[in-house]
């Protein structure tokens, strides 16, 4: 047999095998002309953004039951060709078992990764850093313009109890853990860009592992404290009419006198609700990051917002992705966690300022729990009246009176 004859035989064999494969596709129906593959109509419809029924691919994943015996030609394929297998992978219907069996292990390709990475190391770092530095600048400017808010009137030398020990404990648990989380979080966020170039990979690695341990585990103390603070103080932070008056007077910050306030003034109520809502949201996304792929927060949220038409308010006809790969869920959780944390950090900078440097007499409320009566009269007059009335009541009953 000449070489030419041999080649011809192989050629005929291939032709025959190709014919047999082609017969697997529909012999008639709309895609007969393309042997079951997509048609010009499909392509045109897709380009016109009309729905295309992709069932012809989605379901073309082979048929192991109809496989040829292993000894027959193509029998080793097991009834599914390579193309069949790739289609099954693409439409997530392949029965995949890998050593790595995590929830995201079967996603071979997801295309949200580069967008996320660029955003994280670009705008998030840049704007984030300037936002925090800017907040400190604004506070410094405020201090220069307004100075320390002093106790205006004559000090009485008497004190009233403002916070019980358990309340101060919860506050310091919240504050201590938040500041530690803020610091270690910022190390994770900015480390690659700013700390590695300065300290080198080795030193930063040790440091980062420690920071991550602290961040992961101290988060529980923050969550416990958040619940305690909410339970202790929510009753004093419900909005009421005194808040409107307080806000209209700008809290009296620039010499507008001292608008009356109950236990917490409107500014403090805003701090409280920021801490509860933003802190709660940070906790939730933090848990999603701590237990990867277990919580699905963003796809359902996007779906609800889409149903309400919220994305359309920003741009006509827009909608947010309501089907996310497990990796994309994690990427959104990371971004939200970081952005909301930066916002809360800035708010807390303001809070720490007013609780220490910014206002005479404020720190004592959290330090010893006892505040100067004149401070209370100026900043929380309605609350002081209540305390006095209560003390007068208990005095008459013969128990402990006001502290001298």
């Amino acid at each position: 047999m000449t070489i030419l004859q041999q080649m011809l035989r192989v050629f005929v064999l291939i032709l025959f095998a190709g014919g047999a494969l082609a017969q697997d596709g529909p012999a008639d129906g709309p895609r007969a002309a393309t042997g079951g593959a997509q048609t010009l109509e499909d392509i045109l419809a897709r380009q016109a953004r009309q729905p295309v029924d992709d069932g012809f691919r989605r379901e073309a994943t082979g048929d192991p039951d109809a496989a040829a015996p292993v000894t027959a030609p193509l029998g080793t394929r097991g009834g599914a060709s390579d193309s069949d297998l790739w289609r099954a992978l693409r439409y997530d219907s392949a029965d995949v078992t890998t050593r790595n069996n995590g929830p995201a292990a079967t996603v071979l390709i997801q295309d949200g990764g580069m967008w996320w990475l660029r955003f994280r190391e670009g705008p998030l770092l840049g704007y984030g850093a300037w936002f925090l530095i800017g907040t400190l600048g604004v506070l410094a400017l405020f201090f220069l313009l307004r100075g320390r808010i002093r106790i205006d009137g004559e000090k009485t030398g008497r004190t009233v109890t403002r916070f019980k020990a358990i309340e101060r404990f919860a506050h310091w648990l919240l504050a201590g853990s938040f500041l530690l989380l803020g610091l270690t979080g910022l190390i994770s966020l900015f480390g690659r860009k700013y700390l590695i170039p300065t300290f080198g990979h080795e030193a930063f690695s040790t440091f980062a592992i420690g920071a991550k341990w602290v961040h992961n585990n101290v988060s529980w103390a923050f969550m416990v404290a958040l619940v305690m603070i909410f339970l202790f103080w929510v009753i004093h932070n419900l909005p009421d009419r005194t808040d409107v008056k307080w806000l209209l007077k700008g809290g009296g910050i620039f010499g507008g006198g001292h608008p009356p306030a109950k236990k917490f003034n409107a500014g403090q109520k805003l701090i409280f609700w920021s801490v509860i809502l933003l802190g709660g949201s940070i906790s939730l996304t933090g848990l999603a990051l701590l237990f990867p792929f277990e919580l699905h927060l963003f796809a359902p949220t996007f779906q609800k917002l889409n149903d309400l038409g919220v994305p359309g308010w920003l741009q006509e006809g827009r909608s947010w992705p309501a089907a996310l790969t497990p990796q994309e869920e994690m990427q959104y959780a990371q971004l939200w966690h970081a952005i909301v944390s930066l916002v809360l950090l800035a708010i807390i900078f303001g809070h720490i300022y007013i609780g220490t440097l910014g206002m005479e007499g404020a720190y004592d409320a959290m330090g010893s729990g006892e505040v100067e009566e004149q401070w209370a009269r100026e900043h929380h007059s309605l609350w002081l009246d209540e305390v006095k009335a209560r003390e007068a009541g208990t005095d008459r009953a013969g128990t402990k009176g006001a502290k001298a």
Partner: protein
């Protein structure tokens, strides 16, 4: 001041406790959570 010190202690205790509990009772390690067996495919 005492409340602040106590809070710092509580923070340390909670963090160490959380780490201990997650490691020993919750199967909190990527290896335990995401691997099934020795081989890739064939031992099912």
């Amino acid at each position: 001041m005492k409340a602040m010190l106590l809070a710092v202690c509580a923070m340390v205790v909670i963090a160490v406790g959380a780490n201990f509990a997650l490691r020993n009772y919750a199967g909190f390690s990527a290896q335990e959570r995401t691997t099934v067996g020795e081989s890739v495919r064939l031992d099912r």
